[in-house]
């Protein structure tokens, strides 16, 4: 179990909320510079001298959306195996050395990236760069370590997904909304694929994607940019680039009508997810559309005064909770997603109707100038708040650079949001929030049978290589 505090922290770090990447006129962004090593590795440094600390992150352009059928979850398993040793630093040494230096370290995998990070007192940056450089090219992948670690990942899957009815519903929802796009499968992978993964698959995956010309080093903190550039050259400059093949596009074909699925699982509460197909900032045919969709998400769910909280939770009291989200920085076409849990006394049908009514309204009517002003104020403030965390700043730069956007786009966020008009918001609602492009998933709670729980972990029991 992750500590709830950690969970919240992660939720905050790993999402790019509406108000996350704005630029406040009162608070100019810290100087940020970029260089590209001869071997193609990107290095981006932001100086932030508020505290004597540094965060270092290495981002690879690989994640679950690069994976083929039968190999789902391999990016994430490889991320785990990146701590299992090189000839120079055997398994466990990486973590021990960082700990010895008072550092914190970890890694994360998403649909579009795999990233590794260390947070350290500023003078220890070379420790982290040396270790990252070593495992970029020299990973051992010992079979006996793999056998144990893949079990750990299966436990992670059981904890996060199999025993969590909402997560299970979300996984099924994604699989229904995307048929061809690799967003179809979960980041953690299908259990059957984890069960049949082997170390040769991992070795191949490592060779295919872990190379300087497929990586971005992001350093934020109390450092001098030129020093970091020099260190990057010293630790990563020797590596030869690899021949990196772009993943096949796997473009989702046009959807021909609404899709509905039901997930039955032992649960106490029903829940609902509705996702409309939409382009991301990466795939959109016009940039303003992506930002208008961001504003739309803010109109519905950007704070306690937004429409969902005000009307669905407090006014009609039809939802116990309701949210809207949009995958602005997804590498491929994404979804504009509404999710909600009904309040006592209301069923899921009423809740779904209430959400559809909300969608109808943003298609029919212009949003008010007050709503737009509120979102712009939130964006301006958030741009200041985000500078309280060097880690968050690095996350933002790394995400943008890795999904194929210019990382400077983060600094232009407020400007882009400020340019959005009520007419544009209505226009994207009309273009994208249409029933034929909708996938609906409903969690249908089954009684939690405490007298006859499944034996020994049900179908996933003990299927280990």
């Amino acid at each position: 179990m992750l500590h709830p505090l950690t969970m919240r922290l992660l939720a905050a770090l790993l999402s790019l909320p509406l108000a996350a990447c704005a630029a406040a006129p009162t608070s100019p962004v810290a100087p940020t510079k970029e260089t590209v090593l001869d071997n193609g590795m990107h290095v981006i440094v932001r100086e932030d001298h508020r505290a004597p600390v540094v965060v270092s992150q290495v981002w690879y352009k690989v994640g679950s959306s690069y994976e083929h059928d039968g190999l789902t979850g391999i990016s994430h398993v490889l991320e785990h195996m990146m701590f299992k040793g090189t000839p120079k630093h055997p398994a466990g040494e990486f973590s021990r050395i960082i700990a010895e230096n008072g550092g914190r370290e970890n890694a994360f995998t998403g649909t579009d990236y795999t990233a590794y990070f260390q947070q350290l007192e500023k003078s220890r940056l070379p420790v982290s760069l040396e270790l990252e450089s070593d495992r970029m090219r020299n990973l051992l992948l010992p079979p006996e370590e793999f056998t144990k670690e893949v079990k750990v990942v299966m436990e992670e899957r059981r904890m996060r997904t199999d025993d969590n009815p909402d997560a299970l519903t979300y996984e099924q929802f994604m699989a229904a909304a995307y048929q061809v796009s690799p967003y179809h499968h979960p980041v953690i992978g299908w259990m059957t694929d984890l069960e049949h993964l082997d170390v040769a698959d991992l070795r191949h995956w490592y060779q295919e994607w872990y190379a300087p010309n497929n990586a971005t080093l992001v350093v934020v903190g109390d450092v001098k940019t030129d020093d970091v550039f020099a260190m990057a050259k010293k630790y990563f400059g020797e590596f030869k680039p690899s021949d990196i093949q772009s993943p096949k596009p796997r473009t989702e074909p046009p959807q021909k009508g609404e899709r509905c699925i039901v997930v039955k699982a032992p649960a106490e509460l029903p829940s609902l997810i509705m996702g409309y197909r939409a382009p991301s900032l990466v795939t959109t045919d016009a940039q303003w559309k992506a930002y208008a969709l961001e504003v739309l998400a803010g109109v519905l769910d950007g704070g306690e005064s937004a429409r969902f909280a005000r009307e669905l939770v407090r006014g009609q009291q039809i939802a116990a909770a309701a949210s809207a989200s949009y995958g602005l920085t997804d590498r491929l076409d994404t979804l504009f997603t509404l999710s909600a849990t009904p309040a006592n006394g209301h069923d899921i049908k009423q809740l779904e109707q209430a959400l559809r009514d909300q969608v109808k309204r943003v298609r029919d009517e212009l949003i008010s100038s007050d709503e737009l002003a509120r979102i712009k104020a939130q964006v301006t403030a958030a741009k200041v708040y985000e500078r309280d965390s060097v880690f968050y700043q690095a996350m933002q730069i790394g995400t943008l650079a890795t999904v194929g956007l210019d990382w400077r786009e983060g600094d232009r966020y407020a400007e882009r949001i400020n340019a959005v008009t009520p007419e544009q918001v209505r226009a994207v609602a009309r273009e994208y929030l249409v029933d034929d492009q909708l996938t609906v998933a409903r969690l249908d709670p089954q009684p939690i049978d405490r007298k006859h729980p499944p034996k020994s972990g049900g179908m996933n029991q003990g299927v280990m290589r």
């Binding site: 950690t6 999402s15 790019l16 991320e79 010895e100 007192e121 005064s305 709670p445």
Partner: protein, 440 residues
Amino acid sequence: MNRPFHSFLRGLYFVAALLLISAEAAATPDILQWQTANGAHVYFVAAPQLPMVDIQVVFDAGSARDEGKDGLAVLTNGLLAEGAGKLDADAIAERFDAIGAHFSNSALRDMSVVSLRTLTDKKLLNSALDTFATVLQQPTFPADALERVRNQMLIGLQDEEQSPGAIAEKAFYRALYGTHPYASPSDGTSDSVKALTRDEVVSFYQRYFVAHNAVIAIVGAVDRKQAEHIAEQITQRLPAGNAAPALPPVQALTKAESIHIPHPSTQTHILMGQPGMRRNDPDYFPLYVGNFILGGSGFTSRITNEIREKRGLAYSAYSYFVPMREEGPFMLGLQTRNASADESLKVLHETLEKFAQGGVTEKELAAAKRNITGGFALNIDSNSDIVQYLALIGFYHLPPDYLDTFIARINAVTVEQVRDAFARRVAPDRMITITVGGNR
């Protein structure tokens, strides 16, 4: 905005914020301290670099004060922004959102917390403070809002009933604390929440939301004068009142007890533990450093090594102390597929026993100290970190030089002190063990 479950971490189980990892000889913030006219304690750090301020007001009004009306502290705290002065919930939300201010509130067993983050531009700051002051000092507890929040709490309880981890934690506290106020879940039970009344909320607020029962922490781009003004503005209308009385002491467990709760999950969640330590416990440092080695330091701890690295039994395995006003729990935990539950439980118990008997080595202790002290700068590198520290220092009456002396106190811990503290405070033969999951 990303989807939920978008990313997967290799696993983080540091509980730094609870345990207050800290301190190298690096610069510590300069903490100013005073009392408001009506007696609230104020802790302030000037942080002029960013045009923003964080304010946290903490009352000794957590669920330990529920007195059998389980859920009362959470309901009272949750209603503060649902109506205050002449403002209704919509108006309060609008006023904060319109200027990009963040308001948040929560109640745990010890604390009831109300927080604000806002820009310090004069007009925005004044507006945010005005609303914040109203919410803190003039909540109206509207009857219709109470019913709505009550219903949300009931839904929250149902949500927990479908989570084996949440079920385990509730059972753990109940078994550990028996008749002590810490036994009850902060968010109550469905029966207790249904029975709560508006009168009870009002009298709870009147009794505990008073200046002598409050600590104010402020960090941001304001000077001492402004901070003084802020502290007055947000509490001057509260009565001076009295600090909450001492909580009863926690009784030690007299015997081991195991409780299994069947649940249709693929994993069994295991929680094992005893009453642990108080926040200002004389054994705080040896217990903290000792546990860091046992199960508190993630991938370099013994429990993670035995359970995860050697055997692949669980994604997350840990031990930690939750230091509270009275003895908060010492807990060890993991979750594993049902078929591995017995094996995992055995390894967890053996790891604890070995630790309790053999203690730590000089080498382990030195490594732990380097980790804790070398990372000190990271613990105070943001305003949000510092405001949390201030609130803790004030609430638990830690010495004002707590941050300045932390490194020295970590470095002073010896192998013998760790052995002695664990021998006196942790009894592996008298643990509560909760398992929630399917048949094994």
